[in-house]
């Protein structure tokens, strides 16, 4: 019985922190600047599509999805890195933490709030892309499937940003999160590029281990398959979701553990 009441209390706390984070982030200038860039990219994709021969729809689709994905990730990084650190810096975190609640809830609430912001942002951009594709008679429902996996990628990136934001300054967090983003999108090339360069068997094994261990964000990128309506492998969706949640959990648990013991004075 006691447990039930505790859970309800936790959920309420997380919800109220999330709501605050949502309101706070949605007013952020960076959010609007990046969203404006993304919309510009979508418009740019349409202009570029007039320069092509025969690939108009695919250019709007490819550049549109790439633009949405890239600017959503940038939003996630540049809004996400300040989520914890700025609160500590401005000392506004004391108002929240003075309440009888575990510190971890603050991290989790912040995370869910940020994900809600990114979800709104992503949905708005996908709707714009949908309208553009509909105008050029290239609409496919698979756009939303690609959008779902962009959201999965954002879930991982935001967790990384939150993790670094809880332990480092915004600049350092931005650098580290960007580094993880780059690693996430290039780790899939390890076996093709890195491993052949290594001569030592041990080094090769380490490289392969890193290949499997580091977040493989390129795996969550299904945009390239959507263009040709290539069927998604059976069982991919569920495994990719579990993979994403596992990574998010690892990062959030690590962030909570560090934040619990962090001296905020």
């Amino acid at each position: 019985m006691t447990n039930k009441i505790d859970w309800l209390f936790f959920i309420k706390q997380i919800t109220s922190i999330s709501k605050n984070t949502y309101k706070e982030s949605i007013r952020s200038k960076i959010f609007y600047i990046l969203m404006a860039f993304a919309v510009l990219i979508l418009g740019f994709a349409v202009i570029l599509s007039f320069l092509t021969i025969g690939s108009q729809k695919r250019i709007i689709l490819d550049l549109g999805l790439a633009g949405i994905s890239f600017f959503s990730v940038m939003t996630s990084i540049f809004v996400g890195i300040g989520l914890i650190y700025v609160e500590i810096e401005k000392k506004t975190i004391y108002n929240v933490l003075s309440k009888p609640m575990p510190r971890s809830l603050f991290i989790i609430g912040r995370y869910f709030g940020m994900m809600a912001v990114l979800g709104t942002n992503l949905l708005a951009m996908l709707l714009i892309l949908t309208v553009l594709l509909a105008i050029f008679k290239g609409f496919t429902l698979m756009v939303f499937y690609a959008g779902f996996f962009i959201y999965m990628e954002l879930a991982v990136i935001t967790a990384i940003a939150i993790f670094f934001s809880s332990v480092a300054s915004p600049v350092l967090s931005a650098i580290c999160t960007l580094a993880f983003y780059l690693i996430g999108h290039t780790s899939s090339t390890f076996p093709e590029i890195l491993v052949p360069l290594l001569h030592n068997q041990f080094e090769k094994k380490v490289a392969i281990a890193l290949f499997h261990l580091l977040p493989d964000l390129s795996m969550l990128n299904v945009c390239n398959l959507i263009t040709y309506e290539i069927p998604i492998a059976q069982g991919f969706t569920i495994r990719a979701i579990i993979y994403t949640f596992s990574y998010v959990l690892v990062l959030l648990v690590a962030a909570c553990l560090i934040f619990r013991k962090r001296d905020l004075v």
Binding site: L51, D62, H185
Partner: protein, 293 residues
């Protein structure tokens, strides 16, 4: 007073630097204006590097490269533009091996100066990377058949296209035509007869088109086969007896022909013993054929 002097010096310095930049820029532009366009600063990394740096957005990068490719190679007057074309094409299609337009447009740009080796190189890669695609071998076959008149090559490509999409009569028709031009008349006749059988009772526009085309092709091919057979038989007879036979019956009796050939309407050919050649006397008449085939 001192502050004002510093301000003035600062403003003068800025203006001097700006004028310097202006003149330097003009001079550098003059110095480099005679460079060939191909040597202007552009660099496209290798496919592997591009895959790495495109951060998973391979198709978007391939699209951008394709757009650049269209703008750059659409400019025909460049002297050595083809030296870099292959690399650009390779990167573009390595990033997105299914980018059909990239193959067809690259082949088209290579075709304009009739660089057939490049045309087939570009399309061969597309054919290999897209085992289901019939447009690319069809495209290659058309270059070989209609422009290069390399019928052996045309047969190779049309055969691939036809096997990838056997229901498309256009491909079957072109394959048969290429076989015919190559000299493989018997195989060509089989395919033309298939097309005719398929559209025999089809009164749609497509049916009428393919039926009448097949009729003419069958007519021409049957005559060509008969002419070829007779020519071969006469040649053998001449080798043996030193003269042409007086009629076709002699060739049959001597075993050089299995039977006396008949024209597509079942009539006898007109044999000329002086030249040793036959001539079809019947006129091509689709209405007359319709009842007989």
């Amino acid at each position: 007073m001192r502050k004002k002097i510093v301000d003035y010096i600062g403003i003068v310095l800025i203006l001097a630097l700006l004028s310097n930049v202006f003149f330097l820029h003009s001079e550098i532009r003059d110095l480099t204006k005679n460079y060939p366009d191909e040597y202007r600063s552009y660099y496209i990394p290798s496919s592997l590097q591009m895959k790495f740096f495109s951060l998973g957005y391979h198709h978007a990068f391939s699209d951008l490269l394709y757009l650049w490719f269209l703008q750059f190679y659409d400019w025909y007057n460049k002297s050595v533009r083809y030296s870099y074309m292959v690399h650009t094409f390779e990167v573009m299609t390595d990033l997105d091996p299914k980018h059909q337009e990239a193959y067809t447009i690259a082949a088209l740009f290579a075709f304009i100066p009739l660089k057939y080796d490049l045309v087939y190189k570009f399309l061969d890669k597309g054919i290999e990377k897209n085992p289901e695609n019939f447009v690319l071998p069809y495209d290659a076959g058309c270059y070989a058949f209609f422009s290069e008149k390399n019928y052996e090559r045309a047969v190779k490509y049309f055969e691939i296209a036809y096997k990838r999409n056997p229901d498309k009569s256009l491909l079957k028709n072109l394959y048969a035509k290429a076989l015919s031009r190559k000299g493989d008349l018997d195989a060509a006749l089989d395919y033309f007869e298939d097309i005719y059988a398929r559209y025999k009772d089809d009164t749609t526009d497509e049916g009428n088109y393919y039926r009448s085309a097949a009729m003419r092709h069958i007519w021409v091919t049957k005559n060509a086969i008969a002419e070829r057979d007779v020519k071969e038989a006469v040649s053998k007879y001449r080798q043996k007896y030193g003269k042409n036979p007086l009629n076709l019956r002699i060739l049959v009796n001597e075993g050089f022909l299995s039977k006396i050939p008949k024209d597509p309407l079942g009539e006898d050919y007109n044999y000329d013993s002086n030249t040793g050649e036959i001539k079809c006397v019947s006129k091509f008449d689709p209405k007359a054929i319709t009842g007989r085939w």
